[in-house]
């Protein structure tokens, strides 16, 4: 029996918003089945990963802290993906943003002042944007695929951390550990809720998403991103340059990834360490799609992904599930989401077997 995908006349608006929900539910169901089949407590795993972070109020602060970078990077990616600019290297831009902020923090180590954090913030964004400029330049000048260049640059950025924390930026008092010094007090993000780990990055993430939503829905910039992505030929006719759009998309998504890097290094990490790249940049790709490339949707998607991160840690301690299980769940979610997207636009049709024409 053969099947064929047939285009639907008009994709359903309702289903567009329901597929992310369906993807999460399917992930839970199939996840439970798979982990049960390989001898774990499947239902327990799903409960610990998806529900405990929500029901246990001690975990809420973890959710906020994990969701913040995912939302900020996810918002940037959702803008770029709208324009069909496939920046896959947010992880590298996040690292470069963190490194640029670290550079400022170390250079101002002996100084004090309110201006240090804003300077780090700007440096972080510039660092991320500058790193994203490399794929943009290669794409617009030499038509090199940005997926490949941005992805490969990620691995280069990780090597740069290894070098910096082992040689020039190594903590002189660190007893040989490959890490920088702990930042001075004025280079650390303030906690906004006392006795928790919730730092200023959490409200910033929400503000970034709201601004991005406004810009994407109301401004010519947002219109440009959407029209170049939807119909490049029409965009040229409308007076929007494709190269300019590629530059803007790369710089904005890179800049936001760099901002997330700065907030992480000045927040939870408090110093640059080799373990700084934690795949936020890659997970944010799932966040962007789960949020329907809509900045408001990205807030919810960021929280859902944060739940799986936090829940994965819970499941590790309570039922001894390997930390890789989180990755399995996240991957399943992207899989079901993309499959759902196909089914919104196409229906599956059985191919009628060939019958002889003569009756």
């Amino acid at each position: 029996m053969q099947f064929r995908l047939e285009k639907r006349r008009e994709p359903s608006k309702l289903m567009t918003y329901l597929t992310p929900v369906a993807a999460v539910v399917l992930t839970m169901v199939v996840g439970a089945v798979i982990f049960s089949a390989i001898g774990y407590d499947g239902i327990g795993a799903v409960r610990e990963i998806f529900l405990t972070p929500l029901t246990n109020s001690f975990k809420w602060q973890d959710l906020g802290v994990k969701a913040a970078p995912l939302i900020i990077i996810g918002v940037g990616l959702s803008i770029a993906y709208r324009a069909n600019v496939w920046n896959i290297g947010a992880e590298g831009q996040y690292v470069m943003g963190g490194l640029a902020a670290t550079g400022v923090a170390l250079a101002t180590y002996t100084m004090t002042g309110w201006w240090i954090l804003p300077l780090m913030f700007v440096a972080g964004m510039l660092g991320g944007a500058a790193y994203a400029a490399i794929p943009a330049l290669l794409k617009t000048r030499l038509n090199v695929n940005e997926i490949l260049t941005s992805l490969m640059l990620t691995y280069a950025s990780v090597q740069l951390i290894y070098y910096l924390v082992r040689a020039p930026w190594k903590d002189p008092m660190g007893m040989g550990f490959p890490q920088t010094r702990r930042f001075a007090a004025d280079a650390l993000l303030p906690n906004i809720i006392p006795t928790t780990i919730v730092h200023a990055g959490v409200p910033i993430a929400i503000i970034v998403a709201l601004i991005a939503w406004f810009v994407m829905s109301r401004s010519v910039f947002g219109y440009q991103m959407k029209v170049v992505g939807a119909a490049p030929h029409a965009a040229r006719y409308g007076g929007f340059s494709e190269n300019k759009t590629i530059w803007l998309a790369m710089l904005v998504s890179g800049g936001l990834a760099g901002m997330a890097g700065m907030l992480e290094v000045a927040g939870p990490f408090q110093r640059m360490v080799p373990g700084f790249p934690t795949n936020y940049g890659f997970t944010a790709i799932i966040v962007a799609f789960l949020g329907r490339l809509n900045p408001l949707g990205v807030i919810f998607a960021g929280i859902v992904m944060a739940i799986t991160f936090v829940g994965g840690e819970v499941a590790q301690t309570t039922i001894g599930l390997s930390s890789s299980a989180t990755g399995v769940f996240q991957a399943m979610m992207l899989f079901f989401l993309l499959a759902g997207d196909i089914l919104i636009r196409y229906r599956i049709k059985r191919v009628v077997p060939v019958v002889e024409a003569r009756a």
């Binding site: 006349r9 008009e10 109301r218 401004s219 010519v220 910039f221 219109y223 959407k226 029209v227 939807a230 119909a231 030929h233 029409a234 040229r236 006719y237 409308g238 007076g239 340059s241 009628v352 060939v354 019958v355 002889e356 024409a357 003569r358 009756a359």
Partner: protein, 509 residues
């Protein structure tokens, strides 16, 4: 003798539309039968069911008196149904012979195939060299490949879908000769078109569809073009109303020595194109598709910028260096040939599509922010003034039929009151009623003092609409002449240009 093809009560529904509603008609052996109707009348759907691409929901198809199920095109070909599509499926980089060989159901040795191709070509006077690369052929010659491909299967019914829309008048005459020869030998022909004088010249019977229903089956020779058109659109046809004795104004658009670079392998650039359009003048550019029309439109609209400021001037002001936005601000609007994905974004609402080209001229942008209220109001006005069948400014462009989308696009540009309007194929694939409305709007815009350039392959349209006519061939523009001074034969020869001469040399050995 049984009918070659008999359709009884054919019904086919798509979500939301009844494409064919209880359609019955029959085609006799050797008959040339026209299938006539506006866009969206259900002609293509009907033909696709005969050719096995779709299956009817109800009704039956009888072939030589026997009821058959046509499961797929291969089964249709086996019955003896051949089809020549409006859009060709040819590989440009391969030769004629290779293209035909690829399309055959059965594998035939190349030498034998070539002999058969030459035999068919000689029999029907289809002149073509089997070893030429398709990329070097004119559209008319490419169509001959498709016809030869269909004839190799000895069809008993040949379906032709809008075959003349891309041909010069001379090529049309040659095609009709071939079709008449075929019919004389007993092959039935189902001829889909909306060009009424062709149907009168060629066809024995005409079946007219409107809104999926069969309206009438008549003898086109007994009808006037007008009476058939009115049956097709179901209402009286309006003539273009022109102000008599109007005088043309000062030169408005002056194009001098405009040229473009060759962009892709099969792109035809324009070279050394010069012409002048006065205020109030409609300037027509005729030509067979693929002779540089697209490059010319892009060069005029600003999608391709010139490196000479004065290559294009409006009222003496050089706009050659400006992009589309800059040229629009200076009063030049353009409508490209391709509606979906070029002139409009299918996934966007009509309101958002108005922002695409009208945002600067009509103040829809303030400090980088879009005034969506202004866009919605303007779109509503376009829908009302141009009788666009759409639910409202919030419907997506992709949900409109081709003709309605074209009315919207033309309205969007015309209501901006451009001082220069450049349009390509303004009524391509648009039904007679909508075409008349678009023509009237262009005439009115010219009467208000705008300079208009119409690039079209439809000679009837150009002769009805334009004051001045020039022909584009291989990127060169002929001398412009008043439309009354040129005969259709002269235009045809200019359109054929180099290609026409080559075609006559390529006599099969």
């Amino acid at each position: 003798m049984p009918h070659r093809l008999e359709l009884t009560g054919i019904t086919k529904a798509f979500p939301g539309v009844l494409a064919n509603d209880n359609v019955s008609f029959s085609v006799k052996p050797g008959e040339i039968h026209a299938l006539l109707g506006e866009n969206g009348a259900g002609k293509s759907t009907l033909v696709k069911m005969i050719y096995g691409i779709m299956q009817p929901d109800a009704g039956s198809i009888a072939w030589d008196g026997e009821v058959v199920t046509v499961a797929n095109p291969k089964a249709a070909r086996k019955l003896g149904v051949g089809m020549v599509f409006q859009h060709f499926s040819l590989f440009e980089a391969l030769t004629v012979l290779e293209n035909i060989a690829l399309g055959m159901d059965a594998k035939i040795p190349s030498r034998e195939l070539e002999a058969r191709i030459r035999a068919v070509m000689t029999q029907y006077g289809l002149l073509l060299d089997p070893h030429r690369t398709v990329a070097t052929l004119s559209v008319g010659e490419r169509q001959r490949i498709e016809i030869v491909r269909a004839l190799l299967l000895d069809p008993k019914l040949l379906i032709m879908d809008e075959p003349t829309s891309v041909l010069t008048p001379q090529e049309v005459e040659q095609l009709f000769e071939v079709l008449r020869k075929l019919a004389a030998q007993g092959c039935s022909i189902l001829y889909i078109s909306h060009k009424l004088h062709e149907i009168k010249a060629l066809c024995d019977t005409a079946t007219i569809l409107r809104g999926g229903k069969l309206v009438d089956t008549c003898d086109p020779k007994q009808e006037t073009s007008r009476s058939m058109a009115e049956k097709m659109i179901g209402a009286g046809l309006k003539d273009i109303v022109r102000a008599e004795g109007r005088a043309l104004g000062k030169p408005k658009l002056v194009v001098s020595r405009l040229k473009t670079e060759k962009a892709g392998h099969f792109d035809v650039p324009v070279d050394d194109v010069s012409f002048t359009v006065k205020a109030g003048e409609i300037f027509g550019i005729a030509g067979v598709a693929g002779n540089g029309q697209n490059a010319l439109l892009d060069a005029l609209s600003g999608e391709i910028r010139s490196d000479d400021k004065d290559a294009i001037t409006i009222d003496g002001y050089g706009i050659g260096l400006l992009d589309t936005t800059g040229r629009r601000k200076r009063g030049l609007c353009a409508v490209p040939e391709e509606r979906n994905g070029h002139a409009a974004v299918g996934d966007f609402t009509l309101s958002d599509n108005s922002i695409l080209t009208a945002r600067d001229r009509l103040g829809m942008v303030m400090m980088g922010l879009i005034n969506s209220g202004a866009a919605k109001t303007y779109t509503g006005k376009v829908i009302a003034d141009f009788a666009v069948k759409a639910l409202g400014p919030a419907s997506t462009a992709g949900s409109l039929s081709g003709g309605n989308l074209q009315k919207y696009i033309m309205g969007r540009e015309i209501l901006q009151k451009p001082s220069v309007l450049v349009v390509s194929q303004p009524t391509w694939g648009v039904d007679a009623g909508a075409a008349a409305a678009i023509h009237q709007a262009l005439v009115d815009l010219a009467a208000a003092g705008s300079a208009i350039v119409v690039i079209s392959q439809d000679l009837d349209e150009l002769r009805a609409l334009c004051d001045t006519l020039a022909v584009i061939n291989m990127g060169h523009l002929s001398q412009a002449r008043p439309v009354g001074d040129v005969t259709i034969e002269e235009i045809g020869l200019l359109m054929g240009g180099v290609h026409g001469a080559e075609a006559h040399d390529a006599i099969p050995a």
